[in-house]
Assembly symmetry: C5
Homo-oligomer: 110 residues x 5
Protein backbone atom coordinates (compact mmCIF):
# COMPACT_ATOMS: atom_id res chain seq x y z
CA UNK A 1 0.00 0.00 0.00
CA UNK A 2 1.17 3.55 -0.62
CA UNK A 3 0.79 6.78 1.31
CA UNK A 4 -0.91 9.61 -0.58
CA UNK A 5 -2.74 12.84 0.08
CA UNK A 6 -6.24 13.66 -1.16
CA UNK A 7 -6.29 16.60 -3.55
CA UNK A 8 -9.76 16.89 -4.96
CA UNK A 9 -12.88 15.12 -6.15
CA UNK A 10 -13.09 14.06 -9.78
CA UNK A 11 -16.12 14.48 -12.00
CA UNK A 12 -16.47 11.83 -14.69
CA UNK A 13 -19.89 11.70 -16.30
CA UNK A 14 -19.01 9.44 -19.23
CA UNK A 15 -17.55 6.34 -17.63
CA UNK A 16 -17.45 2.57 -18.18
CA UNK A 17 -20.45 0.76 -16.71
CA UNK A 18 -18.25 -1.23 -14.32
CA UNK A 19 -17.44 1.88 -12.30
CA UNK A 20 -21.12 2.39 -11.45
CA UNK A 21 -21.47 5.50 -9.31
CA UNK A 22 -18.29 5.00 -7.31
CA UNK A 23 -16.92 8.18 -5.76
CA UNK A 24 -13.56 9.17 -7.27
CA UNK A 25 -10.74 11.21 -5.75
CA UNK A 26 -7.62 12.75 -7.24
CA UNK A 27 -4.64 11.91 -5.02
CA UNK A 28 -1.04 13.11 -4.95
CA UNK A 29 1.33 10.17 -4.77
CA UNK A 30 4.77 9.99 -3.17
CA UNK A 31 6.47 11.53 -6.18
CA UNK A 32 4.08 14.42 -6.66
CA UNK A 33 2.15 12.73 -9.48
CA UNK A 34 -1.63 12.68 -9.68
CA UNK A 35 -3.65 9.44 -9.62
CA UNK A 36 -7.33 8.56 -9.33
CA UNK A 37 -8.78 6.29 -6.63
CA UNK A 38 -12.19 5.03 -5.52
CA UNK A 39 -13.14 6.30 -2.07
CA UNK A 40 -15.49 4.51 0.31
CA UNK A 41 -14.25 5.85 3.65
CA UNK A 42 -15.16 9.48 3.05
CA UNK A 43 -11.72 11.06 2.64
CA UNK A 44 -11.53 14.82 2.28
CA UNK A 45 -9.00 17.02 0.46
CA UNK A 46 -5.91 17.31 2.65
CA UNK A 47 -6.35 13.90 4.32
CA UNK A 48 -3.39 11.55 4.30
CA UNK A 49 -4.54 8.12 3.23
CA UNK A 50 -3.03 4.82 2.15
CA UNK A 51 -4.11 3.19 -1.06
CA UNK A 52 -4.59 -0.42 -2.09
CA UNK A 53 -3.72 -1.27 -5.71
CA UNK A 54 -4.17 -4.10 -8.18
CA UNK A 55 -6.78 -6.81 -7.68
CA UNK A 56 -6.83 -5.97 -3.94
CA UNK A 57 -8.43 -2.64 -4.87
CA UNK A 58 -11.59 -4.53 -5.79
CA UNK A 59 -11.43 -6.78 -2.74
CA UNK A 60 -11.44 -3.61 -0.63
CA UNK A 61 -14.93 -2.71 -1.79
CA UNK A 62 -18.24 -4.04 -0.51
CA UNK A 63 -19.40 -4.28 -4.11
CA UNK A 64 -16.55 -6.32 -5.58
CA UNK A 65 -17.90 -5.94 -9.10
CA UNK A 66 -16.75 -2.32 -9.27
CA UNK A 67 -13.94 -1.81 -11.75
CA UNK A 68 -10.96 -0.21 -10.01
CA UNK A 69 -7.21 -0.66 -9.69
CA UNK A 70 -6.79 1.81 -6.80
CA UNK A 71 -8.92 2.20 -3.70
CA UNK A 72 -8.40 4.28 -0.56
CA UNK A 73 -7.79 1.71 2.21
CA UNK A 74 -7.96 4.05 5.19
CA UNK A 75 -7.28 7.50 6.58
CA UNK A 76 -4.01 7.74 8.51
CA UNK A 77 -4.57 9.02 12.03
CA UNK A 78 -1.40 11.02 12.50
CA UNK A 79 0.62 12.14 9.52
CA UNK A 80 1.61 15.68 8.77
CA UNK A 81 3.94 17.72 6.70
CA UNK A 82 6.17 18.93 9.50
CA UNK A 83 7.57 15.63 10.57
CA UNK A 84 6.21 15.41 14.11
CA UNK A 85 6.01 11.74 13.35
CA UNK A 86 9.35 10.06 13.81
CA UNK A 87 10.21 9.43 10.21
CA UNK A 88 13.66 10.44 9.11
CA UNK A 89 13.80 10.48 5.33
CA UNK A 90 17.54 11.15 5.39
CA UNK A 91 18.10 7.60 6.56
CA UNK A 92 15.88 6.19 3.91
CA UNK A 93 17.34 7.97 0.92
CA UNK A 94 21.04 7.86 1.65
CA UNK A 95 23.33 10.71 2.53
CA UNK A 96 24.24 12.06 -0.85
CA UNK A 97 20.86 12.76 -2.26
CA UNK A 98 20.33 15.96 -4.16
CA UNK A 99 18.35 18.80 -2.70
CA UNK A 100 15.44 18.00 -5.00
CA UNK A 101 15.36 14.42 -3.83
CA UNK A 102 15.52 15.44 -0.20
CA UNK A 103 12.63 17.78 -0.75
CA UNK A 104 10.57 15.03 -2.36
CA UNK A 105 11.36 12.67 0.46
CA UNK A 106 10.47 15.23 3.08
CA UNK A 107 7.13 15.60 1.44
CA UNK A 108 6.57 11.90 1.38
CA UNK A 109 7.70 11.32 4.90
CA UNK A 110 5.97 14.33 6.36
Amino acid sequence: MEIMQVKDELTVTRRVDGLKTASLRVLVDGKGGLVVAVDTVGAHPGNWVFTVSGSAARHALDDKAITTDLTIGGIIDHWDDDGDREVRPEEGAGHDQTKAQRSANNRKAA
Copy 2:
Protein backbone atom coordinates in the same frame (compact mmCIF):
# COMPACT_ATOMS: atom_id res chain seq x y z
CA MET B 1 -6.26 4.78 -12.08
CA GLU B 2 -4.10 7.28 -13.95
CA ILE B 3 -4.83 10.48 -15.80
CA MET B 4 -3.77 10.52 -19.45
CA GLN B 5 -4.51 12.35 -22.68
CA VAL B 6 -5.61 10.70 -25.93
CA LYS B 7 -3.09 11.20 -28.73
CA ASP B 8 -4.19 9.10 -31.64
CA GLU B 9 -5.80 5.88 -32.84
CA LEU B 10 -3.58 2.85 -33.37
CA THR B 11 -3.79 0.53 -36.35
CA VAL B 12 -2.78 -3.04 -35.60
CA THR B 13 -3.81 -5.51 -38.26
CA ARG B 14 -1.76 -8.47 -37.05
CA ARG B 15 -2.86 -8.96 -33.45
CA VAL B 16 -3.44 -11.81 -30.97
CA ASP B 17 -6.90 -13.34 -31.27
CA GLY B 18 -7.78 -12.34 -27.71
CA LEU B 19 -7.88 -8.67 -28.67
CA LYS B 20 -10.67 -9.31 -31.19
CA THR B 21 -11.59 -6.05 -32.88
CA ALA B 22 -11.16 -3.86 -29.81
CA SER B 23 -10.54 -0.20 -30.62
CA LEU B 24 -7.04 0.92 -29.56
CA ARG B 25 -5.80 4.38 -28.62
CA VAL B 26 -2.32 5.78 -28.09
CA LEU B 27 -2.28 7.81 -24.86
CA VAL B 28 0.28 10.14 -23.30
CA ASP B 29 0.82 9.24 -19.65
CA GLY B 30 1.78 11.54 -16.80
CA LYS B 31 5.48 11.38 -17.67
CA GLY B 32 5.10 12.06 -21.37
CA GLY B 33 5.45 8.40 -22.36
CA LEU B 34 3.18 6.69 -24.87
CA VAL B 35 1.00 3.72 -23.96
CA VAL B 36 -1.79 1.79 -25.68
CA ALA B 37 -5.29 1.32 -24.23
CA VAL B 38 -8.59 -0.25 -25.26
CA ASP B 39 -11.33 2.34 -25.68
CA THR B 40 -15.04 1.66 -25.27
CA VAL B 41 -16.30 5.12 -24.32
CA GLY B 42 -15.43 6.81 -27.61
CA ALA B 43 -12.55 9.03 -26.55
CA HIS B 44 -11.12 11.43 -29.14
CA PRO B 45 -7.59 12.83 -29.55
CA GLY B 46 -7.15 15.64 -27.04
CA ASN B 47 -9.58 14.19 -24.47
CA TRP B 48 -8.33 13.82 -20.90
CA VAL B 49 -9.24 10.36 -19.63
CA PHE B 50 -8.40 8.12 -16.72
CA THR B 51 -7.21 4.59 -17.30
CA VAL B 52 -7.78 1.33 -15.46
CA SER B 53 -4.85 -1.11 -15.43
CA GLY B 54 -4.13 -4.72 -14.56
CA SER B 55 -6.89 -7.30 -14.24
CA ALA B 56 -9.38 -4.47 -13.69
CA ALA B 57 -8.82 -3.46 -17.32
CA ARG B 58 -10.67 -6.59 -18.39
CA HIS B 59 -13.40 -6.14 -15.79
CA ALA B 60 -14.06 -2.72 -17.31
CA LEU B 61 -15.18 -4.26 -20.59
CA ASP B 62 -18.56 -5.72 -21.46
CA ASP B 63 -16.76 -8.57 -23.17
CA LYS B 64 -14.49 -9.68 -20.37
CA ALA B 65 -12.66 -12.15 -22.61
CA ILE B 66 -10.81 -9.35 -24.39
CA THR B 67 -7.09 -9.38 -23.66
CA THR B 68 -6.03 -6.00 -22.27
CA ASP B 69 -4.01 -4.58 -19.38
CA LEU B 70 -5.15 -0.98 -19.89
CA THR B 71 -8.64 0.33 -20.61
CA ILE B 72 -10.00 3.86 -20.70
CA GLY B 73 -12.32 4.10 -17.69
CA GLY B 74 -13.94 7.43 -18.47
CA ILE B 75 -13.56 10.88 -19.96
CA ILE B 76 -12.83 13.58 -17.40
CA ASP B 77 -15.39 16.37 -17.54
CA HIS B 78 -13.17 19.31 -16.70
CA TRP B 79 -9.44 19.04 -17.08
CA ASP B 80 -7.34 21.36 -19.17
CA ASP B 81 -3.82 22.43 -19.74
CA ASP B 82 -4.10 25.90 -18.28
CA GLY B 83 -4.88 24.95 -14.73
CA ASP B 84 -8.34 26.42 -14.32
CA ARG B 85 -8.91 23.42 -12.12
CA GLU B 86 -7.55 24.00 -8.65
CA VAL B 87 -4.60 21.69 -8.73
CA ARG B 88 -1.37 23.13 -7.46
CA PRO B 89 1.49 20.91 -8.58
CA GLU B 90 3.96 22.91 -6.50
CA GLU B 91 2.46 21.42 -3.37
CA GLY B 92 2.58 17.95 -4.78
CA ALA B 93 6.17 17.89 -5.92
CA GLY B 94 7.90 19.75 -3.13
CA HIS B 95 9.47 23.17 -3.23
CA ASP B 96 12.87 22.41 -4.66
CA GLN B 97 11.93 20.69 -7.83
CA THR B 98 13.87 21.50 -10.95
CA LYS B 99 12.35 23.48 -13.76
CA ALA B 100 11.97 20.33 -15.84
CA GLN B 101 10.10 18.60 -13.06
CA ARG B 102 7.82 21.56 -12.57
CA SER B 103 7.06 21.59 -16.24
CA ALA B 104 6.20 17.90 -16.22
CA ASN B 105 4.00 18.38 -13.20
CA ASN B 106 2.23 21.32 -14.74
CA ARG B 107 1.44 19.18 -17.73
CA LYS B 108 0.12 16.42 -15.56
CA ALA B 109 -1.88 18.66 -13.31
CA ALA B 110 -3.20 20.90 -16.00
Copy 3:
Protein backbone atom coordinates in the same frame (compact mmCIF):
# COMPACT_ATOMS: atom_id res chain seq x y z
CA MET C 1 -0.17 -2.00 -23.22
CA GLU C 2 3.23 -0.59 -24.08
CA ILE C 3 5.01 0.13 -27.33
CA MET C 4 8.33 -1.67 -27.79
CA GLN C 5 10.70 -2.72 -30.55
CA VAL C 6 11.89 -6.27 -31.14
CA LYS C 7 15.65 -6.63 -30.69
CA ASP C 8 16.46 -10.29 -30.88
CA GLU C 9 15.43 -13.84 -30.12
CA LEU C 10 16.36 -15.33 -26.76
CA THR C 11 17.73 -18.80 -26.25
CA VAL C 12 16.83 -20.35 -22.91
CA THR C 13 17.41 -24.07 -22.74
CA ARG C 14 16.99 -24.51 -18.98
CA ARG C 15 13.55 -23.07 -18.26
CA VAL C 16 10.61 -23.70 -15.92
CA ASP C 17 8.18 -26.31 -17.23
CA GLY C 18 5.35 -23.77 -17.39
CA LEU C 19 7.02 -21.95 -20.27
CA LYS C 20 6.90 -25.06 -22.44
CA THR C 21 8.45 -24.28 -25.81
CA ALA C 22 7.13 -20.75 -26.08
CA SER C 23 9.12 -18.52 -28.41
CA LEU C 24 10.88 -15.69 -26.55
CA ARG C 25 11.96 -12.28 -27.81
CA VAL C 26 14.17 -9.58 -26.28
CA LEU C 27 12.42 -6.22 -26.64
CA VAL C 28 13.56 -2.64 -26.05
CA ASP C 29 11.03 -0.77 -23.95
CA GLY C 30 10.19 2.93 -24.00
CA LYS C 31 13.12 3.79 -21.74
CA GLY C 32 15.74 1.79 -23.61
CA GLY C 33 15.66 -1.12 -21.15
CA LEU C 34 15.56 -4.73 -22.27
CA VAL C 35 12.70 -7.09 -21.39
CA VAL C 36 11.64 -10.57 -22.46
CA ALA C 37 8.25 -11.42 -23.99
CA VAL C 38 6.48 -14.45 -25.41
CA ASP C 39 5.79 -14.09 -29.12
CA THR C 40 2.94 -15.80 -30.97
CA VAL C 41 2.44 -13.40 -33.89
CA GLY C 42 5.84 -13.93 -35.49
CA ALA C 43 7.52 -10.61 -34.78
CA HIS C 44 10.95 -10.00 -36.27
CA PRO C 45 13.87 -7.88 -35.04
CA GLY C 46 13.10 -4.25 -35.88
CA ASN C 47 9.30 -4.63 -35.70
CA TRP C 48 7.41 -2.19 -33.51
CA VAL C 49 4.97 -4.10 -31.35
CA PHE C 50 2.76 -3.48 -28.35
CA THR C 51 2.95 -5.74 -25.34
CA VAL C 52 0.34 -7.03 -22.91
CA SER C 53 1.49 -7.46 -19.30
CA GLY C 54 0.32 -9.06 -16.07
CA SER C 55 -2.36 -11.74 -16.03
CA ALA C 56 -3.55 -10.49 -19.44
CA ALA C 57 -0.29 -11.81 -20.88
CA ARG C 58 -1.58 -15.34 -20.32
CA HIS C 59 -5.06 -14.55 -21.61
CA ALA C 60 -3.41 -13.43 -24.85
CA LEU C 61 -2.18 -16.96 -25.56
CA ASP C 62 -4.11 -19.84 -27.08
CA ASP C 63 -2.53 -22.11 -24.47
CA LYS C 64 -3.45 -20.19 -21.32
CA ALA C 65 -1.35 -22.50 -19.16
CA ILE C 66 1.89 -20.95 -20.40
CA THR C 67 3.71 -19.01 -17.70
CA THR C 68 4.32 -15.45 -18.86
CA ASP C 69 3.90 -11.89 -17.60
CA LEU C 70 4.58 -10.25 -20.97
CA THR C 71 3.26 -11.22 -24.39
CA ILE C 72 3.45 -9.46 -27.75
CA GLY C 73 -0.13 -8.39 -28.49
CA GLY C 74 0.33 -7.28 -32.09
CA ILE C 75 2.62 -5.72 -34.66
CA ILE C 76 1.97 -2.03 -35.23
CA ASP C 77 1.24 -1.28 -38.88
CA HIS C 78 2.85 2.14 -39.16
CA TRP C 79 5.40 3.25 -36.65
CA ASP C 80 8.86 4.45 -37.50
CA ASP C 81 11.75 6.31 -36.09
CA ASP C 82 11.44 9.39 -38.24
CA GLY C 83 8.15 10.62 -37.00
CA ASP C 84 6.05 10.40 -40.16
CA ARG C 85 3.26 9.45 -37.80
CA GLU C 86 1.74 12.48 -36.21
CA VAL C 87 3.06 12.07 -32.72
CA ARG C 88 4.64 15.11 -31.21
CA PRO C 89 6.64 14.11 -28.17
CA GLU C 90 7.26 17.75 -27.26
CA GLU C 91 3.64 18.09 -26.22
CA GLY C 92 3.77 14.94 -24.22
CA ALA C 93 6.82 15.70 -22.17
CA GLY C 94 6.43 19.38 -21.44
CA HIS C 95 8.44 22.26 -22.82
CA ASP C 96 11.41 22.30 -20.51
CA GLN C 97 12.60 18.78 -20.88
CA THR C 98 16.32 18.20 -21.11
CA LYS C 99 17.95 17.19 -24.34
CA ALA C 100 18.35 13.64 -23.05
CA GLN C 101 14.66 13.40 -22.24
CA ARG C 102 13.70 14.76 -25.63
CA SER C 103 15.92 12.21 -27.28
CA ALA C 104 14.33 9.39 -25.31
CA ASN C 105 10.87 10.65 -26.16
CA ASN C 106 11.68 10.95 -29.81
CA ARG C 107 12.75 7.37 -29.79
CA LYS C 108 9.58 6.29 -28.09
CA ALA C 109 7.29 8.35 -30.24
CA ALA C 110 9.03 7.69 -33.49
Copy 4:
Protein backbone atom coordinates in the same frame (compact mmCIF):
# COMPACT_ATOMS: atom_id res chain seq x y z
CA MET D 1 9.94 -9.75 -3.71
CA GLU D 2 11.72 -6.64 -2.53
CA ILE D 3 14.06 -5.90 0.34
CA MET D 4 12.90 -3.20 2.74
CA GLN D 5 13.50 -1.97 6.28
CA VAL D 6 10.80 -1.56 8.90
CA LYS D 7 10.41 2.05 10.00
CA ASP D 8 7.40 2.26 12.24
CA GLU D 9 3.92 1.02 13.03
CA LEU D 10 0.97 2.75 11.38
CA THR D 11 -2.23 3.73 13.14
CA VAL D 12 -5.29 3.70 10.91
CA THR D 13 -8.57 3.79 12.80
CA ARG D 14 -10.85 4.52 9.85
CA ARG D 15 -10.15 1.73 7.38
CA VAL D 16 -11.98 -0.38 4.82
CA ASP D 17 -13.66 -3.44 6.35
CA GLY D 18 -11.55 -5.80 4.26
CA LEU D 19 -8.43 -4.89 6.21
CA LYS D 20 -9.98 -6.14 9.45
CA THR D 21 -7.54 -5.63 12.31
CA ALA D 22 -4.42 -6.47 10.32
CA SER D 23 -1.23 -5.03 11.78
CA LEU D 24 0.32 -2.39 9.51
CA ARG D 25 3.95 -1.28 9.20
CA VAL D 26 5.58 1.64 7.42
CA LEU D 27 8.57 0.38 5.46
CA VAL D 28 11.39 2.13 3.61
CA ASP D 29 11.82 0.67 0.13
CA GLY D 30 14.97 0.41 -1.95
CA LYS D 31 14.69 3.98 -3.18
CA GLY D 32 14.06 5.59 0.19
CA GLY D 33 10.30 5.86 -0.35
CA LEU D 34 7.76 4.91 2.30
CA VAL D 35 5.19 2.17 1.76
CA VAL D 36 2.68 0.35 3.97
CA ALA D 37 2.58 -3.43 4.46
CA VAL D 38 0.62 -5.98 6.48
CA ASP D 39 2.80 -7.76 9.05
CA THR D 40 2.14 -11.26 10.38
CA VAL D 41 5.66 -12.31 11.34
CA GLY D 42 6.19 -9.73 14.07
CA ALA D 43 8.74 -7.43 12.44
CA HIS D 44 10.18 -4.60 14.51
CA PRO D 45 11.49 -1.18 13.49
CA GLY D 46 15.00 -1.64 12.12
CA ASN D 47 14.41 -5.19 10.85
CA TRP D 48 15.32 -5.93 7.25
CA VAL D 49 12.48 -7.82 5.62
CA PHE D 50 11.39 -8.85 2.16
CA THR D 51 7.93 -8.04 0.93
CA VAL D 52 5.46 -9.90 -1.29
CA SER D 53 3.30 -7.73 -3.57
CA GLY D 54 0.25 -8.06 -5.78
CA SER D 55 -2.18 -10.93 -5.42
CA ALA D 56 0.57 -12.94 -3.70
CA ALA D 57 0.30 -10.53 -0.76
CA ARG D 58 -3.09 -12.05 0.06
CA HIS D 59 -1.89 -15.60 -0.49
CA ALA D 60 0.78 -14.94 2.11
CA LEU D 61 -1.84 -14.51 4.84
CA ASP D 62 -3.64 -17.20 6.82
CA ASP D 63 -6.83 -15.20 6.37
CA LYS D 64 -6.81 -14.77 2.60
CA ALA D 65 -9.81 -12.46 2.71
CA ILE D 66 -7.72 -9.61 4.06
CA THR D 67 -7.34 -6.77 1.58
CA THR D 68 -3.66 -6.07 0.97
CA ASP D 69 -1.28 -5.56 -1.92
CA LEU D 70 1.90 -5.76 0.19
CA THR D 71 2.74 -8.23 2.95
CA ILE D 72 5.97 -8.85 4.85
CA GLY D 73 7.13 -12.31 3.69
CA GLY D 74 9.92 -12.84 6.17
CA ILE D 75 12.67 -11.30 8.26
CA ILE D 76 16.11 -11.56 6.67
CA ASP D 77 18.58 -13.28 8.98
CA HIS D 78 21.72 -11.37 8.10
CA TRP D 79 21.49 -8.01 6.40
CA ASP D 80 23.04 -4.84 7.68
CA ASP D 81 24.01 -1.41 6.63
CA ASP D 82 27.74 -1.91 6.73
CA GLY D 83 28.02 -4.48 4.01
CA ASP D 84 29.34 -7.44 5.99
CA ARG D 85 27.21 -9.45 3.60
CA GLU D 86 28.94 -10.04 0.33
CA VAL D 87 26.93 -7.77 -1.86
CA ARG D 88 28.83 -5.43 -4.09
CA PRO D 89 26.47 -2.77 -5.39
CA GLU D 90 29.17 -1.33 -7.64
CA GLU D 91 28.88 -4.35 -9.86
CA GLY D 92 25.16 -4.09 -10.00
CA ALA D 93 24.91 -0.44 -10.91
CA GLY D 94 27.67 -0.06 -13.45
CA HIS D 95 30.89 1.83 -13.12
CA ASP D 96 29.87 5.33 -13.99
CA GLN D 97 27.07 5.84 -11.57
CA THR D 98 26.79 9.19 -9.88
CA LYS D 99 27.63 9.59 -6.23
CA ALA D 100 23.94 9.85 -5.37
CA GLN D 101 23.20 6.59 -7.11
CA ARG D 102 26.07 4.84 -5.41
CA SER D 103 24.83 6.06 -2.07
CA ALA D 104 21.33 4.79 -2.78
CA ASN D 105 22.69 1.45 -3.85
CA ASN D 106 24.87 1.14 -0.81
CA ARG D 107 21.84 1.65 1.31
CA LYS D 108 19.91 -0.94 -0.56
CA ALA D 109 22.65 -3.48 -0.61
CA ALA D 110 23.75 -2.93 2.97
Copy 5:
Protein backbone atom coordinates in the same frame (compact mmCIF):
# COMPACT_ATOMS: atom_id res chain seq x y z
CA MET E 1 9.84 -10.96 -18.03
CA GLU E 2 13.02 -9.18 -17.02
CA ILE E 3 16.69 -10.00 -17.36
CA MET E 4 18.62 -10.15 -14.09
CA GLN E 5 21.81 -11.59 -12.66
CA VAL E 6 21.99 -13.87 -9.63
CA LYS E 7 23.92 -12.34 -6.77
CA ASP E 8 23.56 -14.58 -3.78
CA GLU E 9 21.37 -16.94 -1.80
CA LEU E 10 19.13 -15.47 0.89
CA THR E 11 18.64 -16.92 4.34
CA VAL E 12 15.23 -16.26 5.83
CA THR E 13 14.40 -18.41 8.83
CA ARG E 14 11.32 -16.53 10.01
CA ARG E 15 9.03 -16.50 6.97
CA VAL E 16 5.31 -16.67 6.21
CA ASP E 17 4.00 -20.24 5.98
CA GLY E 18 3.01 -19.79 2.34
CA LEU E 19 6.66 -19.66 1.28
CA LYS E 20 7.26 -23.15 2.66
CA THR E 21 10.89 -24.09 2.09
CA ALA E 22 11.24 -22.41 -1.29
CA SER E 23 14.82 -21.56 -2.23
CA LEU E 24 15.39 -17.80 -2.42
CA ARG E 25 17.95 -15.84 -4.45
CA VAL E 26 19.01 -12.19 -4.36
CA LEU E 27 19.10 -10.85 -7.91
CA VAL E 28 20.40 -7.61 -9.43
CA ASP E 29 17.80 -6.08 -11.73
CA GLY E 30 18.35 -3.96 -14.82
CA LYS E 31 18.82 -0.80 -12.79
CA GLY E 32 21.27 -2.22 -10.27
CA GLY E 33 18.64 -2.71 -7.56
CA LEU E 34 18.37 -5.87 -5.50
CA VAL E 35 15.26 -8.07 -5.51
CA VAL E 36 14.38 -11.50 -4.15
CA ALA E 37 13.09 -14.40 -6.28
CA VAL E 38 12.13 -18.04 -5.81
CA ASP E 39 14.48 -20.38 -7.68
CA THR E 40 13.52 -23.82 -8.97
CA VAL E 41 15.96 -24.20 -11.85
CA GLY E 42 19.13 -24.19 -9.76
CA ALA E 43 20.61 -20.82 -10.70
CA HIS E 44 24.05 -19.95 -9.32
CA PRO E 45 25.60 -16.57 -8.48
CA GLY E 46 26.74 -14.96 -11.70
CA ASN E 47 24.09 -16.63 -13.89
CA TRP E 48 22.00 -14.39 -16.12
CA VAL E 49 18.36 -15.35 -15.75
CA PHE E 50 14.98 -13.96 -16.71
CA THR E 51 12.29 -13.55 -14.10
CA VAL E 52 8.53 -13.97 -14.16
CA SER E 53 6.54 -11.56 -11.97
CA GLY E 54 3.01 -11.12 -10.67
CA SER E 55 0.54 -13.99 -10.58
CA ALA E 56 2.59 -15.74 -13.28
CA ALA E 57 5.33 -16.21 -10.67
CA ARG E 58 3.10 -18.73 -8.92
CA HIS E 59 2.04 -20.41 -12.15
CA ALA E 60 5.73 -21.01 -12.85
CA LEU E 61 6.04 -23.31 -9.84
CA ASP E 62 5.10 -26.98 -9.61
CA ASP E 63 3.58 -26.24 -6.22
CA LYS E 64 1.28 -23.36 -7.14
CA ALA E 65 0.39 -22.73 -3.51
CA ILE E 66 3.79 -21.15 -2.82
CA THR E 67 3.54 -17.44 -2.10
CA THR E 68 5.76 -15.52 -4.51
CA ASP E 69 5.59 -12.52 -6.82
CA LEU E 70 8.91 -13.22 -8.57
CA THR E 71 10.26 -16.53 -9.84
CA ILE E 72 13.30 -17.34 -11.96
CA GLY E 73 11.88 -18.53 -15.29
CA GLY E 74 15.06 -19.81 -16.87
CA ILE E 75 18.81 -19.43 -17.23
CA ILE E 76 19.85 -17.54 -20.35
CA ASP E 77 22.24 -19.57 -22.49
CA HIS E 78 24.41 -16.77 -23.84
CA TRP E 79 24.52 -13.44 -22.11
CA ASP E 80 27.62 -11.73 -20.87
CA ASP E 81 28.93 -8.44 -19.76
CA ASP E 82 31.16 -7.79 -22.72
CA GLY E 83 28.54 -7.53 -25.38
CA ASP E 84 29.46 -10.49 -27.58
CA ARG E 85 25.74 -10.80 -28.07
CA GLU E 86 24.47 -8.42 -30.71
CA VAL E 87 22.68 -5.97 -28.52
CA ARG E 88 23.39 -2.32 -29.14
CA PRO E 89 22.17 -0.33 -26.16
CA GLU E 90 22.90 2.97 -27.93
CA GLU E 91 19.97 2.36 -30.24
CA GLY E 92 17.71 1.53 -27.39
CA ALA E 93 18.44 4.51 -25.21
CA GLY E 94 18.70 7.30 -27.75
CA HIS E 95 21.76 9.24 -28.78
CA ASP E 96 21.96 11.88 -26.11
CA GLN E 97 21.99 9.76 -23.05
CA THR E 98 24.32 10.70 -20.25
CA LYS E 99 27.40 8.67 -19.51
CA ALA E 100 25.74 7.18 -16.43
CA GLN E 101 22.76 6.05 -18.46
CA ARG E 102 24.96 4.53 -21.11
CA SER E 103 26.85 2.64 -18.47
CA ALA E 104 23.64 1.30 -16.96
CA ASN E 105 22.39 0.27 -20.36
CA ASN E 106 25.63 -1.44 -21.21
CA ARG E 107 25.31 -3.45 -18.06
CA LYS E 108 21.78 -4.41 -18.87
CA ALA E 109 22.44 -5.21 -22.47
CA ALA E 110 25.72 -6.98 -21.94
